[in-house]
Structure formats: structure tokens, C-alpha cells
């Protein structure tokens, strides 16, 4: 058990945010939509300590020496998908994730990390990917190698999940960028973005991989990086400047922003996918609340002829998490399952035939839940659909 008032508490750097909490409980429900959950962790963990108000209370109790870091805090801090719904609905505009990050880092510094996540990030430090696969195989999905490490103003950052386990996603994003006529590069020595290290509270390890990726991209003269994975994009755009203590030397955009721009400029049009098909779109938390990208995916969908978008009650800023954020699947499968099923039921209730999303973690999660529920709703990556019916000029 740690001593409460020990001097190296990272929590101290966010003490002000902790004390800003009014305890108003606006972080529990989306009551303007009806009796619906806002926070997946609270809905699963059931006691307030699993939700934002509880975590702020815990942080404050630690700062005041009433509570000490111990095993009991591990699930209460780490069983959080970092969906940011609490921060986005906070009455006091508190960046709750800042407090959670400090809690995670303090716990990690005391060796208090959920065991499976700890093992995964240890492997990551060796192989530079979360799946324990050989680094040499990272870009094995790539059929033609001519873009590898080619100096260019634009880069496509693939990310671990598309590179190793959702290779069609990597292929689809690559093909869409290529079809659009963009001159871009792909890193031969791409490392994990660092997001899993941050989720595990390991800031120094995150700094090391971020430094590697930023330097490698800079050496190729890159000015704009296109991401398929919102988690990677956020690690670059929001976390890296803070962790590395310097501004990012290039712009970071999501592939849906890139494609939406092409739609707007009239360079990308679509054939009919299925006439009269009803689709719904799940906002990945990191892309929506985390990066503010809500409109680009919708602009693409709306440009697809013969397609009707049926929104879920919880969408855009109010979107409910798919349950797979922040690597909770390693240690908290119950949270992943419960949240995923709740969200999938909401997808089904729209009457849509197709559920679109644009994040490797969400897609993987929904495909799993789809199988579990034997659902009639088809799950698709939006970029894959673009690739299938897109016509570039």
C-alpha cells in the first residue's frame, strides 16, 4: 500500500481539476434522451467509484490522505473505456481524462496495473505492436512496396490493429488514398502510436515510441499524416505534444476528413450500394468526443445515393461507447460485453440494415457482438464501403 502523502503523486498536477468537481452528477445519465446510460463503466461497475464523480472523489481522497493507492483502485481506475462522455457533459467543463491519466500513472508507478494489460504493454515494448507479432511483419499486408519510406508530404499511419489483425481495413484505407491520387508514404519502421502505454499509465514508454514515430515521419518530409485509427490519431494530435513537450511538426487528419473533403470538392462520387438501404453510423468515442470529428463521416454517408442514415438516439456528442476503448478487453471482458450488447441493441432499434463505423476497435467489437447476438444487421467499415462504391475523378 502506498503512503497517502508521498511526494511523487502525479495527481498533484491536476489537483485543481479534482477540486473543481461540483458533484452535480451530470456525468451519470443522458436524461435529455430518456432513461439511458452515459457512462459504460458506471453501468457495469455499479458503484459510484466506477464513474466520473466517484473517480474525482477518489482522487481527492488520495490528495487529502484519506485513501491510499492499493489493489482495490485498479478496476475503479482502469475499467474505464476513456470514452470522454463524462468530460463532454461535465457541468464544470472538467477534463476528467486528465485526472484519470494522473491516477493511472500513479498506480503504474506503484506497480498497480491490471495484469493482462501489463503483460500486453510489456510485449509491446519488445515488438512495437500490441499483438506480439514480429515487427518485421507489420507492413506485410501491403502488396506493393513502392510507397514504403518514400519521401512525401503526406503519410498514411496504419496502426497496430489494421496492420496485424484487421488487414482489410489497412488495405481499404490504402486503396482509397491511392485511388484519390494522393502522393503518400507509409513507414517501413512504424511503431505503435503509444496509446496503449498511456492507457497503462506508462508515460516514459509512450514518450519513447512517440519520439521514434515523429522523428521518422519528419525525416521523410511529411506535413500531413492521415490516420485510419482514431486512437492513433489522438495519440499523435493530442497526447504527443503534451508528452514530448513540443508541438507536432505536421498536421494530423482522419481518413474520413480526407475523403469528405474529396466529396465536397466533387472529386469523389459514389455508385448505389443497395437502393433504399438504411444505415446507421456509430461515432467512435475517440474520433467524436476525442477529436471533434462528427460531420465528415456523415457527409460521406449523405453523399451515397439511395442510402438513408437513421441516427441512434445516442449519437454525436451523446454517442454511447462500443465498450472496447482503452484496452479494457484485456482485463474486463464483462464491461466490454455488457457495453457492446447495449450499444448493438441501440443499433438494431434504428431499423438499419447496415451499421457503419470507422475505428478498428469499434469494428472489431461490433463484429464480435454481431456474432454473439446473431444479428441481422451487417457491420461495415465506412472506408471499406467508400472503397467499394467510390468513383474518383
Amino acid at each position: 500500500m502506498s503512503k497517502p502523502n508521498e511526494p511523487d503523486l502525479r495527481l498533484r498536477s491536476v489537483a485543481q481539476s479534482t477540486y473543481e468537481c461540483l458533484r452535480c452528477a451530470f456525468c451519470f445519465d443522458l436524461s435529455w434522451l430518456g432513461p439511458v446510460n452515459l457512462c459504460p463503466s458506471y453501468a457495469w461497475g455499479a458503484f459510484e467509484s466506477y464513474g466520473a464523480r466517484g473517480r474525482m472523489t477518489i482522487a481527492r481522497a488520495i490528495l487529502e490522505g484519506e485513501l491510499a493507492y492499493d489493489e482495490s483502485l485498479i478496476p475503479r481506475v482502469f475499467a474505464c473505456t476513456e470514452c470522454r462522455a463524462c468530460a463532454d457533459h461535465c457541468f464544470k467543463y472538467i477534463d476528467t481524462n486528465k485526472v484519470y491519466t494522473a491516477l493511472r500513472q500513479d498506480l503504474a508507478a506503484r506497480g498497480l496495473i491490471p495484469p493482462q494489460l501489463a503483460a500486453a504493454v510489456d510485449g509491446l515494448a519488445e515488438s512495437h505492436n500490441l499483438y506480439g507479432e514480429p515487427h518485421a511483419n507489420r507492413q506485410a499486408w501491403l502488396k506493393h512496396r513502392e510507397r514504403l519510406d518514400k519521401p512525401a508530404r503526406v503519410a498514411f499511419f496504419v496502426g497496430c490493429t489494421p496492420a496485424y489483425v484487421r488487414r482489410t481495413m489497412a488495405g481499404d484505407a490504402y486503396a482509397a488514398l491511392e485511388a484519390s491520387g494522393l502522393d503518400f508514404t507509409v513507414l517501413g519502421d512504424e511503431w505503435c502510436c503509444g496509446h496503449p502505454f498511456l492507457a497503462a499509465g506508462q508515460r516514459e514508454r509512450a514518450a519513447e515510441v512517440m519520439r521514434h514515430n515523429v522523428d521518422t515521419l519528419t525525416r521523410l518530409g511529411v506535413e500531413r499524416v492521415v490516420f485510419d485509427c482514431p486512437g492513433c490519431m489522438r495519440a499523435f494530435r493530442e497526447d504527443a505534444p503534451e508528452v514530448l513537450g513540443e508541438p507536432l511538426p505536421f498536421a494530423a487528419v482522419h481518413i474520413t476528413e480526407e475523403l469528405a473533403r474529396q466529396v465536397q470538392e466533387g472529386r469523389l462520387r459514389f455508385d448505389v450500394f443497395q437502393s433504399g438501404v438504411v444505415v446507421t453510423y456509430h461515432d467512435p468515442c475517440t474520433l467524436g468526443r476525442g477529436l471533434g470529428v462528427y460531420d465528415a463521416p456523415r457527409a460521406i454517408i449523405e453523399a451515397m445515393p439511395g442510402m438513408r442514415l437513421a441516427e441512434m438516439p445516442r449519437h454525436k456528442r451523446d454517442a454511447y461507447c462500443c465498450g472496447a476503448g482503452s484496452f479494457v478487453r484485456y482485463d474486463y471482458p464483462g464491461l466490454v460485453e455488457k457495453t457492446g450488447v447495449e450499444r448493438f441493441r441501440e443499433i438494431e432499434a434504428t431499423g438499419a440494415q447496415v451499421a457503419l463505423t470507422t475505428c478498428p476497435a469499434c469494428l472489431t467489437q461490433f463484429q464480435h457482438i454481431h456474432g454473439k447476438l446473431q444479428s441481422r444487421v451487417q457491420v461495415m467499415d465506412l472506408v471499406a464501403l467508400v472503397n467499394r462504391i467510390g468513383r474518383w475523378r
Binding site: E20, A25, F47, E48
Partner: protein
């Protein structure tokens, strides 16, 4: 107490009981300034039957229960060290929307605004929209606290809209009130039936006399239109006189006066009146006319009412001051030792300057960096509900002490003249209950009769304290 936790688990299921310190720390305080005691157990019952079993167990082992809706009150909840917290969040269902009889029945943990949102899908609403905490507060807590709602100028307090309650008494008996008490009546329709108004006994009692397990509230069709006005005045008296004129003619659904704190952005004046009217078109036009005529006859200057509209549609106070919520609430580690209560409308002409003078003469304010957030008034149909909201920097222990002293002194100042608080809970009970004389004695007798073992929310409202204890001493 290994045996007690096993018995709690056998009633509610192991997954709904915790004695982990990390959990217990999270159920000790409301939005008020003092931390409260750390409870011994947190229990999440799922049904009235489970609550009955828990109440019987608490009586048997002599352990107090504390009722936890969402703990969003501002005046110190009064959780007792080592007690069993009954968190009612799992009992959150909307049981029946009875369109025919214009009643909605919910469990106590249903979130107030969530109920309204569901009704809204049918073109209906509760006949009272809840207070500023509506997005997170529970139906049970709001009724037990008798919250002062938005729209109070026309609708009155929350309790007025209760048709009937189901309540578990401190001995475990389950009763229903009003017409619902008749076992042969299929659903609740009228509060004033079958004898005395027993619902009234539990409204505002803050869980000291029984646990509300079902609530029947009145509903109606959403009014046809909403209209907004905003006036600035050069004196408090002009504004108060204008309000009185509007109150006498039932001119507005909601009148909010701003008499202190930061003035609305971009508007000059000493006092400000926000006016909200909800009605059908023709009557709304008439009421607008009444409000305009009265305000202008007291030299009120009409202002852009977009902030008023946003306040009403978003229920965010900041818009009362023409300020977006992020600019108003962001980056402020402040707490609010709120003092609030009903005063006669005309008494505001003395009460506001009195508080202003108290603040101006109090050197502590500047020394510890306190601020005045507002001296705002929600006008009821015939009176004024004044909130004196001061803020102290929460990270500073000395400021916290000053904050509590300010709460005590403003309470003395106002409760000693005109003011009677609405919801009391525990924090301000010491300043008001002793003034109630025989009425407080009656409350104590009722408490002793219904809850002889003192297991429900002891200390809340100054009830259920040991016979020889001095209420004010207890709070110090």
C-alpha cells in the same frame, strides 16, 4: 460485522453490496461543503421487498440507514459515520404513463428529466419541470427534498404535483397515500382522498419518516407556446414592485430576479427580471402584454431575451446572465455554501440590501478570496425564493472555514427575520429547526413515533438526535 454484510448480501445479492473503502468514500457527501461521515456499507436494493427487508434488518441490528438518491442537494446531506447507505439508483423504472388519468408512476431512483424526456415523446410533460439539478436528480430525492422547481411562479413547489406515494415506513410497513391507499383502487388519481394528506408528511421530510418507493406525479400536454422577456431596472425596489404586479395578475410561468453577483453581460442596471411564459397562443399574448405593461410602469427597460430563451430551453443558469456555460462554470475550484429560502416578495427590498451590506462589511470575503455568485430569486405565485450563493475556494482549508461561517451568519441574518428554507437536509437544520418551536417538537414526536429506533436518516432535519443533544452543537 462480517455477519451483517452477509445478511445484506443475502437480501440484495453480493454484487449489490460493498464495504470497500473506495466505494464508501464515494457515498458520504452531497454538493454541500462538508464531507460527511464515511458509511460502513453501500447497498443497492432493486425492489420494495428488498427495502422492507433492509429496514427490518437495520431495526434488528440498530444500524442507521441513509437514503441516497443522487445526493445533489447543496446543504450537506448528513451521512452518518458507519451507516448503511441505501443507493436507490437501481430502482429507476418508469412504471406507468397513465395518459387517461394524467399521472406518471415511477420508482424513486428514476432521473427526473429522463421521465420528462420519455413523456415528451408522447407530447406530454410532468406538471412541474424540476429544479436546476433535473438532469441528474432522482424523482424520490426531489420529492423528499421538495425541490424548488423552474416554473415555480405558476406551478408552485415540487410537492404540489405529487398525486400519491408508496412509502416503506421505518418499521418495514408499506403504505400508499391518497386514493391509492384503497386496496381496491387500481391506480392513483387523487391526493386529497381517504383522510389526511399523508403524502405531505413525506414531502420535504428528506427521508426521516419513510422511504419513498413509488411516486405518482401529475402530467399534462406540453403547452402550445413559450415566450420570453427580459427587463433591467435601476433599483431593486422597482424590480420588486414589478414582480408583485405580475404575481397579482398571474402574468408569468416563471419570474427570476437577479439582485447580486455579476450582472448579465452587456446590460446596465441594478436589478434584472427574466420572464418566461408558457401557455396557449392567445393567453400567452395576453400575459406578455401584462408583463410588459407592469415592467414598463416601473421604469423597466426591455432587453434582448435570447439568454432567457436559452436558459429555459437548456436549464443552464449561466444564460440568466447572458453568459455561455463554459465561460461561467469552467475552471472554478469553488464550492457554494448556499443559503436559500422563502421570503415575502416585498421583504426583498430590505433583505437584499441587508445581505449586500453584510458582504461589504465582511473583510473575510476578500481575505480568503470569496465571491458572490448570485443573489437570485425564483418567484413563487405569491412570494420569493431567495438564493444567496457565495463561493469559497475549495482547495483552501481556511477559506472553507470562512465559507461555513458565512453560511451560518447569513442563515442567522435571514432566518431570524423573514426567511424559511425550502429543502433543509442536515447542513442548515441547526439554524432553522430551533426557531420552529412547537412545530419542531411535533416533528420530533412524529419521528419518535414512526422511527423509535432512529434508523432512517438520523440527524437529518435535526430529527432523531439523542434527547440531550443541542442541535447547533452537533453541527460544530
Amino acid at each position: 460485522m462480517a455477519e451483517l454484510i452477509e445478511r445484506l448480501r443475502s437480501i440484495c445479492g453480493p454484487e449489490h453490496v460493498s464495504d470497500a473503502l473506495a466505494d464508501r468514500m464515494c457515498y458520504r457527501r452531497d454538493c454541500g461543503p462538508t464531507p460527511g461521515g464515511v458509511p460502513g456499507y453501500i447497498v443497492r436494493p432493486e425492489s420494495t421487498d428488498e427495502i422492507v427487508a433492509l429496514v427490518k434488518l437495520a431495526n434488528e441490528v440498530g444500524k442507521p440507514l441513509f437514503l441516497w438518491g443522487r445526493a445533489t442537494t447543496f446543504v450537506d446531506a448528513g451521512v452518518k459515520e458507519g451507516c448503511i447507505v441505501l443507493a436507490l439508483d437501481l430502482m429507476n423504472r418508469i412504471l406507468k404513463i397513465d395518459v387517461e388519468n394524467q399521472v406518471v408512476i415511477t420508482e424513486p431512483g428514476a432521473i427526473w428529466h429522463a421521465v420528462d424526456s420519455e413523456l415528451g415523446k408522447l407530447g406530454l410533460e410532468m406538471t412541474v419541470p424540476g429544479g436546476g439539478g433535473m438532469f441528474s436528480c432522482t424523482v424520490g430525492g426531489t420529492v423528499a427534498f421538495n425541490a424548488v422547481p423552474h416554473g415555480i411562479s405558476e406551478y408552485g413547489v415540487t410537492g404540489n404535483h405529487v398525486v400519491a406515494l408508496e412509502v416503506v415506513l421505518p418499521d418495514g410497513a408499506v403504505i400508499r397515500t391518497g386514493s391509492w391507499a384503497n386496496a381496491d383502487a387500481p391506480f392513483p388519481i387523487e391526493r386529497g382522498a381517504n383522510g389526511p394528506d399523508l403524502a405531505g408528511l413525506f414531502i420535504g421530510a428528506c427521508g426521516t419518516l419513510g422511504i419513498i418507493t413509488q411516486v405518482a406525479l401529475r402530467i399534462r400536454r406540453i403547452p402550445e407556446c413559450e415566450r420570453f422577456l427580459f427587463y433591467a431596472f435601476d433599483t431593486i425596489d422597482q424590480c420588486v414592485d414589478a414582480v408583485a404586479g405580475i404575481q397579482h395578475q398571474n402574468g408569468a410561468t416563471f419570474l427570476i430576479g437577479l439582485f447580486g453577483g455579476p450582472p448579465p453581460t452587456g446590460v446596465g442596471g441594478k436589478a434584472f427580471l427574466q420572464i418566461i411564459i408558457r401557455d396557449h397562443e392567445a393567453r400567452a399574448a395576453e400575459r406578455m402584454q401584462i408583463c410588459r405593461a407592469v415592467c414598463e410602469s416601473f421604469a423597466g427597460r426591455p432587453q434582448n431575451s435570447e439568454g432567457t430563451r436559452r436558459y429555459w430551453t437548456e436549464h443552464m443558469y449561466s444564460w440568466l446572465r447572458n453568459t455561455p456555460p463554459d465561460a461561467y462554470y469552467g475552471s472554478r475550484p469553488y464550492y457554494c455554501p448556499e443559503v436559500a429560502g422563502f421570503v415575502p416578495t416585498q421583504a426583498l427590498k430590505q433583505a437584499i440590501p441587508l445581505v449586500q451590506q453584510y458582504i461589504a462589511n465582511n473583510a473575510e470575503f476578500a481575505r480568503v478570496g470569496m465571491r458572490v455568485k448570485g443573489m437570485d430569486v425564483y418567484f413563487s405565485p405569491n412570494a420569493a425564493f431567495l438564493w444567496v450563493d457565495t463561493l469559497y475556494p475549495e482547495m483552501d482549508r481556511e477559506a472553507w472555514r470562512v465559507g461555513l461561517r458565512v453560511r451560518a451568519e447569513i442563515s442567522e441574518l435571514l432566518f431570524g427575520r423573514w426567511m424559511s428554507p425550502g429543502g433543509i437536509v442536515a447542513g442548515i437544520a441547526p439554524y432553522i429547526m430551533p426557531r420552529l418551536g412547537p412545530t419542531y417538537e411535533l416533528m420530533k414526536r412524529l419521528k419518535a413515533a414512526l422511527d423509535p429506533r432512529n434508523i432512517l436518516n438520523p440527524g437529518v432535519l435535526g430529527l432523531g438526535l439523542p434527547a440531550d443533544s443541542q442541535l447547533l452543537e452537533q453541527s460544530r
